[in-house]
Subunit: 408 residues, 2 copies
Amino acid sequence: MVEIIDGGVTTPQGFKAAGVHSGVKYRSLDLAVLYSEVPASAFVGYTSNNVKAAPVQVMMRENSPKLQAVVVNSGNANALTGRRGIEDALAMKQAVAAELSLDPVTVGVMSTGLIGRFMDMHKVRYGISRACRELSQGREADGLLAEAIMTTDTIKKECSARVRLSDGTLVYIGAISKGSGMIAPHMQVLHGTTLSLVTTDANLSPEFLPTWQSILDDSMNMVSVDGDQSTNDTCILMANGMSKGAVADKDPEFIEALRTVMTKIARTIAMDGEGATKLIEVQVTGAETKDDARKLVKTIINSPLVKSAIFGSDPNYGRIMMALGNSGCKFVLEDVRLTIKGGDMEVPILDSGAPVFQDERSVEVVRMAMDNKEVTIAVDLGAGSETATGWGCDLTYDYVRINAEYAT
Amino acid sequence: MVEIIDGGVTTPQGFKAAGVHSGVKYRSLDLAVLYSEVPASAFVGYTSNNVKAAPVQVMMRENSPKLQAVVVNSGNANALTGRRGIEDALAMKQAVAAELSLDPVTVGVMSTGLIGRFMDMHKVRYGISRACRELSQGREADGLLAEAIMTTDTIKKECSARVRLSDGTLVYIGAISKGSGMIAPHMQVLHGTTLSLVTTDANLSPEFLPTWQSILDDSMNMVSVDGDQSTNDTCILMANGMSKGAVADKDPEFIEALRTVMTKIARTIAMDGEGATKLIEVQVTGAETKDDARKLVKTIINSPLVKSAIFGSDPNYGRIMMALGNSGCKFVLEDVRLTIKGGDMEVPILDSGAPVFQDERSVEVVRMAMDNKEVTIAVDLGAGSETATGWGCDLTYDYVRINAEYAT
């Protein structure tokens, strides 16, 4: 039984966190350190964008199977910073290693913020030194770390779960994620997220990697705010084994718990998409292949026309069908079923390739379903048995405002 | 010598047009007919969206090599209308054929407007009958046809050219296009635009088809307003040979003239993108393959983050590099050159993988270049010799407003 609890990255045993103001940002917290009392098995997913930020390049090159600390700064992405950026990312790892008496290779590094500016290492070093001294455990520490890694985020993407493994061990999972714009993660383990830190005191072996990839593929990789994949996306899972249980790689309860946490985080990221007023969930069923199902989810969720229609509760479901036609997935129009759900309403839209509703008054039903904080678009392709679910948000005036004024 | 002249679809010899109010729309003109005195060789490009509107399905099935008339309605796309939609599209052709004493197979049909509503054929038949009686030649007729096919368009996309062929014949080309949202045409001749009507009194044989496809690929198919490809895109070229010249299939002057007209129309469509305040031209050079060059143009032009930054003249060029990384095209970051041009300014951005500008004051230069009605993003990949150019527009508050309120 997976139990969602009030917790964060320091809820699993042996993890400590800190968040401080280094000065890279004008006022807010901008530098965080996460630390595990013992070396933890690390599973990392990176952006598959070919322009990779310096910290991503450094971590991919080292590909360390064990991490004991992670340093994260916000305000500057250390991306497009050439050789100097690489040196700065390495220096961040070294500074943490020196403060905490670790091997630099066991220190992860992540950056988020503006692209194309050199890091102010004087400030970053000061921040690292302070954060390493302020490491602590508990909800306050979780909160400081969360605050320090946020950029345009308006809500904290935090989730924690407790689950009893088959061998009786009680393990904890904690996760924090940041990200609201430039979001369409397509992380591949060892090659390609938003910034996410996931901690657990479960015991995991390197064999857990494909399971982690599959969980990422169904959660973080199914979120899209604007279809733009960042240069910095990184998702780090640290498993320090301090629960003392058996290896949990194949434990269905553990996998279920981790999947639940990651799905909740994914939904929260979509809900907090830049300027978003609504969460859009797209459920595709009856696809011939998994790839078709995922492609269709992404095409619908990334369509500016669908996103604007949902913002205005505009019952223009033709746009969903337009997206279907553009997705490249296999279907026969007459077999497709489209349903729009919102609140308690569930409105079927298509019947044998033509809309159910024709007159203005009945279309109002669709508008009422769309006029909810969470709108679900369910498409049954009737072509097979594969499914996929993904999350996005509406396209609003505020998205435009936020992104037309970012660097200023 | 290609000469751009003030003209429209009835400028070439033998073409007549009409635009009327049929009542499908509340007030504006909503039905147009284009007619050629003699049967014209027809070259048609259709949307490659797999959800195709009824008129597209009908025209693709008949695949007529000759057309003598085209009927176009706005206000209703006749898309997602099942079997009844097909019957209505056929009935539109038959009505025109009856009025003008033509074989229905030589009558083209196009629709644009709301998706998922049945046509009001009573109104459409009335409109067809009136339009066929009002057919005439000249700038007024061009204007009425143009008005009748517009939806959210704010400017008329019309262009005309005169050119002397190698054999001394003087031929004319006229073109009109409509479309401002749901635009990312990817037409393939015989399988896949916005609604465009192109007329010429040149003499073309069926062999002209690949040349037409190549012109479409470099013009209409390089326009993207929102990356959403419509269910109705159709582009019809009618060549009625009334100039009496030799077959112009391979005539470089003619090809150049048609390319010039189609490129101008493509740019105008981008400039009139829904809510647009700026035209964005993306020029890619030094790509290893043509496909890489086109992919990169499309990725940059479709990025909501790039589009919002241009709207706000926000010098956040990191987003362009993010798009580069996501495009999937081949490059070595250190070899890439990025230049932003606007007005008389031409600002180099990257040097060996890192930005030229670091301090706030110099970044102002980039903002000044971006603060123009036309902004050019030039990327030299340094990986080969292939090039591509495409057009799009900024993402603005008005795009959201227009598309959140369309059906209402």
